[in-house]
Symmetry: C2
Subunit: 464 residues, 2 copies
């Protein structure tokens, strides 16, 4: 344990330097979904590969058809396990820009009235701050001991926020290089500020963009209004039909493969003392809006959803324009649970839309990613060791939770490489990821590094 203690001390001593490195990374606007930022994505990959090289990894930037991957290898002690660390260097778009209190790519340290500090920037929590906790732990291990307690491969993606189109081809083409004993995925939250969490359940995701088209051009609503189909009206009607009055999704077959929550899992969740009032209250809401008769935890962890993530059509600028648009579109996503099949959900949605089209209207669809839900085994030895290590670092022992969000890479690691993942992250529920003023707690950044040092030591010790 002397080694680990000196590593932890090293992390404490070098927090400001680590913060400086994170700041450099956060300044790069690596928005993967917008082609205008392709060069910035590459720059972020090169920055990370350079940093990993400096630590002593054998790091490389690997081209794909989209944004590049970063892959870096470091040996471990003979007989020690091989871990694959996964994170992503790309970030979400920043709009609406006017709601940011400081520019999204000028990282700002803000001290709160209670004395805590936070790092405010796009990507601070999702996922640059998180992935740097692992890299800093490795750096300190190398500095203090000259090596790492496990064989470590670091694998950083640049398309996580845009459907990961290059991920599967890359995993397939580099299977031997990436296969490890267990994957460590750092893109999730703690249970609360004092309680670390390992996420063992994840909802899946299907994204669809649907465009409704009617007339061959925009029309004047005076001349044609009353006689011409209005794509906004058609789209609104179809979207409105997707939920019934009890909040259930009406698409035929949507609930195929959706199980009721097992009693043992329900018992674990009941023990978490989750406050629905606090969860909704933090964002100005008070009444659960999902399926009637389900708890909020069920609604966000164990029930599927249909959400409308964007909609646009007609004149949306200042003032008014009496136009009937030629087309309108919506971005729709489905969160999946248990055994729901992404391909079947996508097909059922498309059939639902096309079967509702009135005369003279057409629908076009564009897919945006698809992944099934994930459930990790509760009895994994890796899970037990990581739980113990995390419980050492934080005031409360680590808990096992589920997640409403999707991390498709976990499913791909399992399907393509046969590799389980440990989902360990240090985000907080109020980090505003995907929203203006995204932040990462300084405590998350600092104790996250210390946590990874402990986890690496525990996993490495497993081989001894």
């Amino acid at each position: 344990m002397a080694n680990l203690d000196s590593v932890l001390a090293c992390l404490d001593l070098n927090l400001d330097r680590a913060l400086g490195r994170l700041t450099e990374l956060l300044k790069i606007p690596s928005i993967s979904t917008d082609p205008a930022y392709a060069a910035d994505c590459r720059r972020a990959a090169e920055y990370l590969a350079g940093d990993l090289d400096a630590i002593g990894f054998d790091a490389s930037v690997r081209d794909t058809d989209g944004h590049p991957m970063v892959v870096a290898h470091h040996d471990g002690p003979s007989g020690a396990p091989h871990v694959l660390f996964y994170g992503h260097y790309d970030v979400q778009p920043v709009d609406p820009l006017e709601l940011w209190e400081s520019p999204p790519f000028e990282p700002t340290i803000r001290e709160m009235p209670d004395g805590t500090k936070r790092i405010v920037a796009r990507g601070s929590a999702d996922d640059k701050g998180q992935l740097m906790t692992f890299i800093e732990a490795c750096r300190a291990y190398k500095a203090e001991t000259g090596g790492l307690p496990c064989k470590v491969t670091i694998f950083l993606e640049g398309e996580e926020e845009s459907g990961s189109p290059s991920l599967n081809p890359f995993l397939d083409a580099n299977r031997a290089e990436l296969l490890a004993d267990v994957a460590l995925v750092c893109d999730t939250n703690m249970w609360d500020r004092h309680t670390p969490a390992i996420s063992t359940g994840l909802r899946g995701l299907v994204g669809e963009e649907v465009t409704i088209k009617a007339a061959s051009r925009d029309l004047h609503s005076g001349y044609f209004g009353g006689a011409a189909q209005n794509p906004i009206r058609v789209l609104a009607k179809i979207l409105a039909d997707i939920h019934d009055d009890d909040g259930r999704v009406t698409i035929p077959g949507f609930y195929d493969g959706v199980d009721e929550l097992p009693d043992d899992v329900r018992a674990i969740w009941d023990s978490l003392n989750f406050s629905e009032t606090d969860f909704l209250g933090q964002v100005g809401l008070s009444v659960p809006a999902g399926e009637k008769g389900r708890s909020v935890l069920e609604q966000v962890w164990a029930r599927p959803t249909a959400e409308f993530n964007g909609i646009s059509g007609g004149y949306t600028g200042e003032g008014f324009k009496t136009v009937i648009a030629a087309e309108a579109f919506a971005k729709v996503s489905f969160r999946l649970v248990f055994r729901q099949d992404p391909a079947r959900i996508r097909a059922a949605f498309r059939e639902f839309v096309t079967s509702r089209l009135p005369a003279d209207c057409a629908a076009e669809f564009a897919p945006h990613g698809g992944s099934p839900a994930i459930q990790l085994p509760f009895d994994s030895p890796w899970l037990e060791k990581a739980r113990g290590a995390l419980s050492e670092e934080w005031p409360n022992p680590a808990v096992m939770i589920s997640m409403g969000g999707s991390i498709p890479v976990v499913g791909e690691f399992k399907d393509r490489l046969g590799m389980e993942s440990l989902l360990i992250g240090f985000g907080c529920g109020d980090d505003r990821i995907h929203s203006p003023n995204e932040k990462y707690e300084m405590t998350s950044f600092h104790k996250g590094q210390r946590s990874w040092a402990r986890v690496l030591a525990a996993l490495g010790g497993a081989a001894g």
Copy 2:
């Protein structure tokens, strides 16, 4: 008639010069609804006042709280009637810009396969090309005869496309100066390319922008999806509720004041041999989308509508963002007929929306203009003289029609000045006003000038 013949010959001879003047006016991007173009609106007003001064009018640019008005006076023969000509120099926005085949403010003459020519530019038909037909007729009259056959006041507005906020205060403040025996309004269409029309009925308009708000910020659809209200979903549901399956508007009280079409008007419309197939077919449609059991002419001339002119919320850029938006908005307009009351319709819509809001949601409203429907008397002596003059110019005699669009100034002339209007315009149904590639037929521009010379002569002769 010798005078009129020489005026008509002068118009024929100077068509190219007239086209040059229209081109100068069309180059000015006088988009009234967007504050970025305020200086251009003023420039258009100053251009027109300068041109009218050059003809011999006493012209001035008159400031308002918004865009300026142009008012110009010219005396007529003793005992001749006084006519007020109305047009508007402002234009609609140009988006979607990428659909224009030539830049909207670089007027282009396009020759069609059948040998006809058209002027392509934003505002060519609505309303710069139209208002210039009258100014050119005055110019030729002055050049050939040294005077005008009527006393003429020209009144040009710069806010017609943005709800005319300054119109009523200006009319009230300048009542004595603007009051004439009859108003001539040039902002309407012919019945077809060979048949001039005088519009005697106009639908009214109420515009509303509604914004639905839920959470205090944008949310991640993984963390909150299923538990949080989604404003796009709430908005879509409310919009979908506005029409029933028969295309009728469900807002309580909406049809108060809506009469069935009188038999004599229905007889006139039946005689027009209107082709529903051609009307819808020109914009790629085939099936009337309005109230079931109503003809297309009824749907667009004599029935009220609710149309959704714009909608926006959440992420609408390239790619995908799994966000639940904090708010979403729609621009909604209602076309009114007969005795529907704009204020009551607006209030009923707002009540309809607020009564449907679920918990944690709020609605905000912004009004965009409101005017009742108009019906002009069929037995006016001005109408008879104008019909005769128009029938002289065109292959077919003039017909009396209604219009689906709204021209609020006609109601204000009646209510505030006690003045009837003759709505005479030379637009065509396929002019794409408010749409990309707006055009004005060269025939409309040329024979429109000749028509006004004939109408002025006929109205002036009325005093003889």
